[in-house]
């Protein structure tokens, strides 16, 4: 989807601010959110691409203000709610109980947990050990497709319709995130590193002698046949 998360090239975010002696987590809850998400990757509930897409579905202002782990919290809550594992109303009830100092057991009825083995979703496994035949070779000129799905994609908007050169062929069977995020198939395919000149991508705003190198799934690319 075309969203604020796809922010390569945007203006207006000011200087890069470096924090000296930064802790790994800035608050206890950040570490908990990170680790809970990590721990859930073995539950069969959802995959990494779903996690990323859920973050993309945040409203744009919240995306910008909630912070990195705030986005993870948002995605975790939404996915658990949407999949019927932990409902938002339950979280709200638990917060009210915590405030009131009450202790109440969770209700086990009508809950999509545990996940039956036949519907379990693998979190990761981005590569499979099957053979794929790459369409492109190092040195090939490719044009990035004007691909603008409403759903998840890892095609950054700033290289759409741009011409680059294949510099690395990752000839393994990589999962295609656009479909995996929606649990509509793995579509195994090579991933290429494509090199774009700054001028091609940024036009009159390009800095001299800069190159952008982006990893792109085969389905994002067409052979460039023009001059």
């Amino acid at each position: 989807m075309n969203g604020i998360h796809d922010m390569g090239g945007l203006h207006g975010f000011g200087p890069v601010t470096v924090e000296p002696n930064e802790p790994v987590f800035h608050a206890r809850w950040e570490g908990r959110v990170y680790a809970i998400t990590q721990a859930m990757d073995t539950t069969g509930l959802y995959n990494l691409d779903e996690h990323r897409h859920e973050i993309e579905l945040m409203d744009a202002a919240s995306y910008l203000t909630d912070g990195y782990y705030g986005r993870w919290l948002f995605a975790m809550e939404r996915i658990l709610d949407r999949k019927g594992v932990v409902r938002r109303a339950e979280v709200d009830r638990r917060i009210a109980q915590d405030v009131a100092g009450e202790v109440a057991p969770v209700e086990h009825a009508d809950r999509a947990w545990p996940v039956p083995s036949e519907t379990r979703i693998r979190w990761g496994a981005w590569r499979k050990d099957v053979a794929v035949a790459p369409k492109f070779a190092v040195g090939d000129r490719v044009r990035v497709r004007n691909h603008q799905p409403a759903g998840h994609t890892r095609l950054t908007h700033y290289v759409r319709d741009k011409v680059g050169t294949v510099t690395v062929v990752n000839a393994q069977a990589w999962v295609y995130p656009d479909t995996r995020a929606h649990n509509t198939g793995e579509n195994l395919q090579p991933v290429y590193n494509v090199s774009f000149s700054g001028e091609e991508v940024w036009g009159d705003a390009a800095e001299p002698n800069t190159i952008v190198r982006v990893d792109l799934s085969e389905d994002y690319l067409d052979r460039e046949t023009g001059a």
């Binding site: 800035h26 809970i36 932990v86 638990r94």
Partner: protein
């Protein structure tokens, strides 16, 4: 934007709408206690993961890899050919990084890493990324004006040095192999590992003696 006048709380970390505890902390605690009660996670395991990332992994791992590459040409060749396999020789690696490309800085080519879409980073080799790497400013600017961003961060590169920005939006992770600095000729591998910084391995700094 500094100078903006009302309190929306546009920081990149947590923010608080007047409650004593940030709302995100409140929701996280409630969610964790529910997940724990349901047996979906165990808080003891969460404790372990948090301390693993706080104490066990971090840029020191990457620094060992760089120091070894500087002192062992055969290792360096293996590292550039297959990053993860070479890291595994040093006992480094883990489930979160699927594929590691090590990109070497030279006198004429400087590499820098970003993920414009979501802040992907080689966790098992460098630990979790710093806040600036995850900031909107870095993500938006590093691809469009790397020369200016690097200069603002203290690394001014001559115009004849090519800057290659690796936008790591697929599942391949990148580690920059910095140049061995002048003055480090006589240092041991351990001494070298001590001077290699996280920022040098992202590509926003040089290693200095």
């Amino acid at each position: 934007m500094s100078g903006h006048h009302h309190d929306h709380g546009h920081d990149d970390h947590d923010h608080d709408h007047g409650a004593e505890k940030p709302w995100q902390a409140v929701r996280t605690e409630a969610l964790e206690s529910l997940l724990n009660d349901l047996g979906i996670i165990s808080s003891a395991r969460i404790d372990e993961i948090v301390s693993h990332y706080e104490d066990k992994i971090g840029p020191k791992s990457g620094a060992r890899v760089v120091a070894r590459a500087w002192t062992d040409p055969a290792f360096k060749a293996r590292l550039l050919a297959d990053g993860l396999a070479a890291c595994a020789e040093l006992g480094l690696g883990g489930p979160e990084t699927e594929y590691l490309h090590v990109v070497e800085n030279t006198a004429t080519v400087h590499n820098v890493v970003v993920c414009t879409l979501c802040s992907c980073y080689p966790w098992t080799i460098l630990g979790l990324p710093p806040a600036w790497y995850k900031s909107s400013a870095y993500r938006s600017r590093a691809v469009r004006e790397p020369r200016r961003v690097l200069a603002e961060m203290g690394l001014t590169l001559a115009d004849d040095v090519t800057i290659q920005v690796w936008d790591s939006v697929s599942e391949i992770r990148y580690l920059v192999l910095p140049e061995r600095p002048p003055g480090a000729e006589g240092m041991t591998e351990d001494e070298l590992a001590d001077i290699v910084t996280r920022d040098a391995m992202i590509g926003v700094a040089r290693v200095q003696v």
